[in-house]
Amino acid sequence: MTYQNPAQTGTEGQFEPSERTPVVELQGITKRFPGVLANDDIHLAVEPGEVLCLLGENGAGKSTLMSILSGMQSPDEGAIYVNGEQTVIADPRQALDLGIGMVYQHSTLVPTLSVIENLMLGASEKLILDASEARERLEQLAGMLGAEVDPHARAGDLALGQQQVVEIIKALWKGTTVLILDEPTSMLTPRGIDELAKMIDSLKEHGLAVIFITHKLHEALRMGDGVCVLRQGRVAGRLSADDLRSLDNDQLQERIVSLMFGDESGELAGVAELSAEVRHESGHDPSAAGSGRRQHAETATALRIRGVSLAPVASSHGLHDIDLELYQGEILGVAGVDGNGQRELAEVIAGQRDADTGAIVLHDGATEREVTGLGISSRQRLGLRYLTDERHGEGTVRTMPIGLNLLLKRIGQEPFWKRGAVQNAAIRSYTESVIEAFDVRAPGPDTPIGKLSGGNMQKVLLARELAFEPRVVVYNKPTYGLDVRTTQAVRLRIREQAERGVAALVMSTSLDELLEISDRIAVMSRGRVVGVVENGPGAEERIGEYMVGEVAA
């Protein structure tokens, strides 16, 4: 067994002879896509009871590597060993039979089926036939996860955070020995992440191996027994359990970041995201980080949400009498567990959904304009933007090139269309400029957007909503799936725009994110705004109280 480790770091841990055979081992895996070398001679092994964190910038090849392991893709070169035996994994079902369960970066549930039907679909090998048995298993696994799942809810109606829980349950359904989680925490609140960490610990005790992809370094440091960093398809370096023990957090962060971004990592030194995470780890108050924040005090209103309500249905808490005022140049955060009305509120503001009662009013200086009755595109023309957190479901048209997806909300407009005729040269040069500006990793501007890595797709969506003079932007999880560096760049952009007077409503499950960029933070729970907190010292505690208070109620 030879590890051709190109890394400059000492990674003795990986070379130690071990008595246990790895549950899975990848040797020399190479995968090419047209125009990209997604995986380049990758060696990787996990042992029972080990949690391996896979890190790397957007487009580094993490998801590709894991989808090879889970049978979704076949490698161009290299071998896979399961329990020491060389195996060809032809399809996901075979991977499941081998005990490899994967939770993908995006939902793979059938939206029209109920939760329980989705789960039973995954186990169609007649392992679990009757529904009552299935419900029991669901309860058992949900209990392990510390989550509540309605077995009869339609999967498509669930918030993405809840869908993720169902996905994890689905991956565990068949008695998995290796669990692969591709960015499982991107939709979870700090509490949810704690619970996931606990769950992973208990899985570990049961001897499961876990491969965990994340962009949040503190999670990697907290949950991982080993860390493997990919960069441009290659293993850039590894950190063994010993490394993780012997170095302190600052050193580790520095090490990982330099592995992730190579020479370019210098520019990241001391960025708020990293330091915030370190502080978070060591129990400091992260809210001290929001130094760039401004007070809304005397500025004018940009958007007013008045008494908006939406009747609850089986799968949604609805909205209850939401009153919010957003000032020009202000960033108003919305905290809360995913699925507590955030998407509904965003859709009501964007015009994708009609509220039962209430009004949405856009202000421009002295003039105010009620937009409640306007359609989606009219609101867009007035400068109202909405970044959806469903980049696959509604955010993009997977099969269409990046350029058209960038212009999805401006179809027919000059200079990209002239009298209805497409101006390909204009679209192309615009797309190229966006690819450049947002550092989108793609073989070319014509690449269908579905071929991009999750984070790169997110960059395209962000570019779409940030461009062309927005006035009020609703962001649902703006940095969802972005690597540390891009996350930082995006937060900077949001703040830059705020400085120019753009108002932003930022919904996020990451409290750190909200504390870093918001001026005020509203807390949503069960379709209500249960409180609005001025960001500053003590804000985190107060938000916590609001969230807990509601949960207890």
Binding site: F33, P34, G35, S63, T64, S67, M72, Q73, Y104, Q105, H106, T108, V110, D182, G351, Q352, G375, I376, S377, S378, R379, Q380, Y386, T388, E390, H392, G393, E394, G395, T396, V397, R398, T399, M400, P401, G403, L404, L408, K409, I411, G412, W417, G420, A421, V422, N424, A425, I427, R428, T431, P443, G444, P445, D446, T447, P448, G450, K451, S453, G454
Partner: protein, 403 residues
């Protein structure tokens, strides 16, 4: 480096090659194409994939002929001789293409938007009935060119009107249009008959069946040059090429393609899904109705009761094979017209019913589905439009690409 293999410029030889930038906005197929080693090879693969079912159907038809004691070589020889090598037969082949092209155009508009308008035959036949009924009324009072223009428009409008109910049901209540359009065809065919036997009926002791008045040959669609080919073929060609242009190069076509690829993305982008759905139905019905008018004004001259060529369902496999590409549709319609036209004589010579041609069409459909199924099973791409159709009717789950 990242050509999509089926972009219009790849699957059609002369779509007005405006350089490489053309590729930016290619929106030809629901599955995004991945880059290939060579465009030529991609093109060849696409052509092979599309032609295979037709070739297989012809071979299977030949085997069946042999089993029935006919000479397949002779049979197909007659088909080709008649439909291509004889002057009058060649003209007849071209004449037959006109309504088929317009139906194909109408289907492409709808199918690209993921709207399965299968009510072509009702839309077509009602347009025929109205054309046959109204044209003779207007002829005596108005100049010929004006009557023809008006009646062509009328045919289109009738075709469009017959989609309104399924369109509203789909747009506002989400009702599956496959069922509603098929139902509307059932009703439409009968209404057309009632019209022919009622308001549009003309007594003629020389005819054994109820029918509309006959439009004088001189009053029908003008002929091209010295041939018997009427200008319907031009209308058909223009129709399908305009549709092709619209669907691949304009903002409205892009909207329809987005609606087809992802209604949720269309809604999110503010495209006005309900109105777009209505528009799609209307345009589709208009083109198909226009096809009906062209056929009546160009060839039939009158409509007799119970006449129903049921062309619509014949065109469906053709546009699937053509992958909703206008140029490829012209080619497949031409192939089909050869088969249908030559087959008429060949079946007569062989002492077989004319329905034998329908049988071959059915074979095309079967082979199309089977080869596609096999291609997908072997891990290949298959025809993305078939996949989309099967997904629409719930027979296949649309698989997502792994991230």
């Amino acid at each position: 480096m990242s050509d999509s293999p089926d972009n219009p410029s790849a699957s059609e030889p002369d779509a007005g090659g405006s350089g490489p930038t053309q590729r930016t906005a290619t929106i030809d197929r629901p599955e995004g194409g991945s880059a290939g080693p060579s465009r030529v090879r991609q093109l060849l693969a696409t052509v092979t994939q599309s032609l295979t079912p037709m070739v297989l159907a012809v071979i299977a038809g030949g085997i069946l002929l042999a089993l029935m004691g006919r000479d397949p070589i002779e049979f197909y020889g007659t088909v080709v001789d008649r439909a291509i090598f004889s002057e009058s037969g060649r003209q007849e082949t071209i004449i037959r293409m006109a309504p088929l092209l317009l139906i194909a155009a109408g289907l492409i508009v709808a199918f690209r938007a993921n709207i399965w308008n299968l009510g072509m035959d009702g839309q077509f036949l009602l347009a025929v009935a109205f054309t046959a009924g109204v044209a003779p009324m207007l002829m005596p009072t108005l100049p010929r060119w004006l009557v023809l223009t008006l009646v062509l428009m009328l045919g289109g409008i009738i075709g469009a009107a017959w989609t309104v109910i399924p369109a509203l049901m789909k747009a506002y209540y989400g009702l599956n249009e496959i069922i509603t359009t098929l139902m509307m065809t059932f009703i439409g065919v009968n209404v057309a008959n009632v019209l022919v036997k009622g308001p549009f009926y003309e007594e003629d002791p020389g005819r054994a069946f109820p029918a509309t008045p006959v439009i004088e040959v001189a009053d029908r669609l003008p002929r091209l040059f010295d041939t018997s080919i009427h200008i319907g073929i031009l209308i058909g060609l223009i129709g399908i090429l305009v549709v092709h242009y619209l669907m691949t190069r304009t903002s409205i076509g892009l909207r329809l393609n987005i609606l087809g690829a992802s209604p949720r993305a269309a809604h999110h982008a503010g495209l006005g899904v309900a109105k777009l759905t209505l528009l799609t139905f209307l345009v589709s019905g208009f083109l198909i109705g226009l096809g009906g008018s062209v056929e009546l004004l160009g060839v039939q001259g009158y409509m007799r009761a119970d006449w129903d060529p049921a062309l619509g369902l014949l065109v469906v496999p053709l546009v699937f094979l053509a992958k909703m590409n206008g140029w490829a549709s012209i080619a497949f319609v031409a192939l089909f017209a050869v088969l249908a036209n030559g087959g008429e004589l060949a079946t007569r010579d062989a002492g077989l019913p004319n329905d034998f041609i329908l049988f071959i069409v059915a074979l095309i459909l079967i082979f199309m589905t089977v080869t596609d199924y096999l291609a997908v099973r072997r891990g290949g791409k298959g025809n993305p439009w078939i996949a989309r159709f099967l997904a629409s009717v719930g027979l296949r789950r649309e698989g997502r690409d792994a991230e």
